[in-house]
Symmetry: C2
Subunit: 692 residues, 2 copies
């Protein structure tokens, strides 16, 4: 079966080479006008400044955590071998470093791809699309290759699946803060720019007179590119780690390595399928960007299903049941995407209803959006529930422990095409930036129209990929619940305690955990949104000050420039101040419940956390998406068009939706993953040191 390792290695190398090729291809595309390149340099510098500051804060956090791990995990040093703790610490740090690296690569390419896309938009839609997409693909390939490389490396070097959980925790904890910090930065700038520019002064989006416009573009990069990359890196690693933890114990019971090998096979084939999908992506002469992006996703899905079916057919010991579970996961991912599209695209009724409600004022925009957002959570929740149930039932006949492994493989299946998903997702902020550059650089109406079309496709596809990411996180954390229980039980064996058979709802300790765990995602999102809220109020005040005090700025007198750096500074300082508390709250409340209520309370806590985490993530992402598109729908001329009262109401909806969909909603995925991993890592300590 070494052939599978060869395939994995080959897939990683191929992905890296292809990413380098695409990067060079993007780089050699024609540069834009001097003015645009100058603006892009400002954006790039702003992004780099923020990332450097953010990573230095996170490095301190990681150092403290690493020290704690060294002392306590997997076993306190006064009770075990320090060598194990060192391995765990190194695994943790590798997770943080690779996650940071993935984000860094994303920023690197996106700040180059944006000017090329802007230049490309002066020639044709086709070439601009290709530059934007391939820029995103560099990020997609980098994320998947590094995660597969990291997971395989940790496992091969240590042979220890608990170290894998440590690696995954490193990736998640960094992702949590990167997502939170980037999310606060981007929405602070976006909201402030919109409110002062579009609403108060009536100047267009991305107008260079607006002091927040560079910060807004920096935000697209640090929030949507780097943050999202860290998020999906984390989900991908967590899903593989959960599956590999279970595979290892199944392999140990059965002898051999077949289950571990299957996990790598599915991950490697997913990467190969993404490479093929990316290479094949084109936009027809008359084609539109949205369908180009969607059809490459479907194409990749098809290739994955065929290749894994062939593998199941060819390799001895591969099971069709596992294939069924993985396929189930992937199909639910696609289904969630379709539902999200229904709720957030203006081709359908929902967005139009919200636009219509906006005629009666902003309160109705909010009420109808909140309502449809709530409703949109139902199909996805049912989809995740059904896929977990089906995967479990399909794999249960394979023997003890295979049922939970089936759920883990459904998560792996769903995330298999994540390379393609990230490419589509990172495309969004690149073309959004390009649009900004076209506007600020005054490249003309034709280019603006082209980038508008590209941007709108980015928005639609982004909603879909977000639903996908949430679904994947859902299945992953369900399997992490299984991983948690096996960690508890192996600790119980070691310490001569009773084995857990499960977590009974009627046990009041479990119930206590459920209720507390359920409140955490709400508080977590609230803290992030308040961060944006406070920060944006500061920036709005600064922008108003500039328009008031800098003479000629409002009128656009030649040569008069706003102080862009002041806005970047406010966004940076605010984001750094707010990013730690929310994440820390989630981690510390897990520790509090664990040390008070013990392992059963944590079982309940994880369940409560997963359930409301998924519900709120779906609600917030979809509500945000549908408000955004309702506003765009009105801007395109419906319900009175730009400047009408309905439009003003829709702008309020969009402003509320921004931190919903780009700060709180997508950070929740990471929050539930981090909490699940903390629980697994601390299982032994909770078992031995809790009050109850």
């Amino acid at each position: 079966m070494t052939v599978i390792y060869i395939i994995s290695f080959f897939a990683v190398v191929l992905a890296v080479l292809f990413a380098v090729y695409l990067y060079l291809w993007v780089k050699k595309q024609p540069e834009c006008t001097e003015r645009v390149e100058g603006i892009a340099k400002l954006v790039q510098a702003g992004a780099n400044t923020f990332m450097t500051k953010e990573y230095s804060v996170l490095a301190k956090f990681a150092a403290v955590t690493a020290a704690v791990i060294l002392i306590l995990l997997p076993v306190p040093i006064w009770k075990g071998h320090i060598s194990e703790n060192i391995i765990m610490m190194v695994a943790y740090l590798s997770g943080t470093i690779l996650s940071a690296l993935a984000g860094k690569i994303g920023i690197l390419v996106s700040t180059i791809a944006n000017t090329r896309t802007a230049e490309g938009s002066r020639t044709s839609l086709t070439s601009a699309f290709l530059i934007g997409f391939r820029g995103g693909a560099v990020m997609g390939l980098a994320v998947v290759a590094t995660s597969l490389f990291g997971v395989a490396g940790v496992l091969l070097l240590t042979g220890n699946t608990t170290a894998l959980l440590g690696f995954s925790f490193g990736a998640s904890s960094l992702a949590l803060f990167a997502k939170a910090g980037g999310g606060i930065f981007t929405k602070t700038a976006d909201i402030s720019a919109d409110l002062t520019g579009k609403v108060e002064l009536g100047i267009p989006e991305d107008d260079p007179r607006n002091p927040a416009v560079i910060a807004d573009n920096v935000g697209d990069n640090v929030g949507d590119v780097a943050g999202m990359g860290a998020d999906l890196f984390d989900s991908n690693v967590a899903s593989m780690a959960a599956a590999l933890v279970m595979a290892a114990s199944l392999d140990q019971a059965a002898g051999g390595k077949i289950n571990t090998i299957m996990v790598f096979f599915y991950a490697a084939v997913g990467l190969l399928a993404s490479i093929i999908g990316i290479a094949a992506a084109r936009i027809g002469k008359k084609g539109n960007p949205t369908s180009a992006l969607n059809s490459s996703t479907y194409f990749t899905t098809g290739i994955f299903l065929v290749l894994t079916a062939l593998g199941t057919f060819a390799f001895r010991g591969f099971s069709w049941r596992i294939w069924g579970a993985a396929a189930m996961g992937l199909l639910v991912g696609v289904l969630i995407g379709i539902v999200t599209d229904y709720f957030t695209d203006d081709r359908h009724m929902i967005v139009r209803n919200v636009a219509k409600a906006s005629r009666s004022g902003p309160a109705f925009t909010i009420l109808s959006g909140v309502s449809y957002g709530f409703i949109s959570s139902l199909p996805a929740m049912v989809g995740i529930a059904v896929s977990a149930l089906v995967a479990y039932k399909i794999c249960a006949p394979m023997g003890d422990g295979y049922a939970m492994f089936g759920i883990a493989m459904a998560a792996v299946g769903m995330l298999s095409i994540v390379g393609m998903i990230i490419s589509n997702d990172a495309y969004g902020p690149i073309v959004d930036n390009a649009r900004g550059l076209v506007e600020m650089g005054g490249l003309g109406d034709a280019a603006l129209e082209t980038t508008d079309e590209l941007d709108s496709a980015g928005n639609t596809v982004k909603a879909v990929t977000k639903g996908f990411a949430i679904g994947a996180a859902g299945l992953t954390v369900i399997s992490l619940l299984g991983a948690y229980m096996s960690e508890v039980n192996s600790a119980a064996v070691e310490h001569g305690k009773a084995l857990l058979t499960g977590f009974d709802i009627m046990d009041p300790t479990v119930f206590f955990g459920v209720l507390v765990g359920a409140a955490i995602p709400a508080v977590f999102s609230a803290m992030l949104m308040l961060g944006v809220d406070k920060n944006a109020q500061r920036m709005v005040a600064e922008i108003r000050r500039q328009f008031r005090e800098i003479k000629g700025l409002k009128e656009g007198v030649e040569g008069v420039q706003p102080e862009y750096d002041k806005c970047i500074h406010i966004a940076t300082v605010g984001a750094l101040k707010e990013l730690i508390p929310a994440g820390l709250m989630a981690i510390l409340s897990t520790l509090a419940v664990g040390f008070i209520g013990g392992v059963s309370a944590i079982g309940g806590f994880l369940l409560g956390n997963i359930v409301t985490g998924l519900l709120l993530a779906l609600f917030m992402s979809n509500a945000g998406g549908l408000w955004d598109n309702s506003k765009k729908y009105i801007e395109a001329g419906a319900e009175g068009g730009k400047g009408s009262d309905a439009h003003k109401a829709a702008v309020v909806g969009d402003t509320v939706g921004d931190p919903f969909k780009d700060t709180a909603g997508p950070s929740l995925n990471t929050q539930i993953t981090v909490v699940s991993l903390v629980a697994s890592l601390m299982a032994t300590l909770f078992l031995t040191f809790s009050i109850f």
Copy 2:
């Protein structure tokens, strides 16, 4: 121990006599001016029309449900004795009738008390307060007396605790629809009146020129008085029913009746304590209404704790552990009240922060309100979790089954002072109406100031009682989970199936139920809010039409009157159309999950439903409350005062908050209770007929 039954009987009779006395007292207070009495007649007529129409729709629903019960419950007639099914059906119908009666009594007294309070406000704050409060107290006493009477009657006549669940289901299902219908009516009218009157035309609240003003006052009665009465009637019955189901099985095991007797003792003493508290309520010469209302609550709480302690001391077999559980429940209720007060009263930071955020525009009002609303759910969730855990642990040493009984008694304890709680709550809409009458009848500025002060106290206290109601529902449904499991197990014994030992989270069927159950409260609230949203859009259009077409209306020409009845008609038709689907969705989804996934899936479904139901109910009630009070805080002169941009933003927040706090939020209590009761009643059928 017959003495306990005598005490209960005595408490009920005393409560009824006292309620009649208070009713006559209110009635003999001086009537108001002819003009005010005329307006009040319009309100009364509108309320009666709506209630008659609503009850005739609900009668049809109840008839269909009764027929289904006759055929299927507790055992399908082809398998059991029809006599049991007839008992169940009669119990169900009694529940619906008593619930409707409680609502009817509330409307009767509130539509008399409002004019008397208006008249009283011309004399003094003290007398106006007393009239409003005593009017509310009639409702409070009526609700508690009828619920205690009904529960005792059903139990004494049938000796059958399953019939008690049927009675409770009757009360809940009617409450669900009454709350939904009334909630949609009242918010449709309130929002439409505010948006067109205050915002568009800048005329004051309750201005008689506004065509929706009568509908708004009708809404206060049908939504806040009748709906809330039905809601707390339902919670009170459900908590007693859950406790009595467990008490009966404990009594059977131990011989005797001691546990059943304890439940009645606590309920009866609660009623007595409320009577004393109501009789003692006064407002000092310089006192303010808020502290008068709050201190009567604390006074009642103290009396209850002392009297039950005396009883525990005096009666043989009464347990201090049970007393501890009940006291725990009551104290958590008070704690939730204090937290709610912190988040929703303008003496504290939160409301002021939201008011400050409003300066940056409505989006910030919404974002900060949503965030604080989310955060406010944490202490209440933790409080409920801790009280359930503590009650369980206190009572567990008493023997098998007592631990769950402890949780049930915590719920009974929390609801013991419900008579007082309802009095405070019903006071709110009465003085709100009185304020409207003072404005419409032109009774002068002094009277307006007095009623303004009374109204503001009503708002604050209402937020507190809402938190109380949600907490009580939380503890009740936890104990209903226990009732559900014992129903399943007694059915399992009968059908020779394996007994359930609990509901394991790791069982994918349970997990499936949890995820689906968690989505239901979100969808349920969304449906109600969309109902308000659609309905209000219709009414806004009608109001605008009247101002456009009726000459002299806007200018207030003498003798020109708007067409009030058209607005009442729109609110009525809309509410009746929207009230059934949401409730039906909750009931049918329970049946679907039960018949697909079986009894384990329903266990998970109830858990998911309870958890997100509580979370969303707390979030929506508190967010709505804090928006309302932020607006009032600005209107009192802060952040620019009336007419400023901050005020306009705060009005948007208040409009969003209205259906949050008065339609969706408080209906969620009832939704989770109904779903829990449906599950218990259908337990046998789910066990024998499910697919999985």
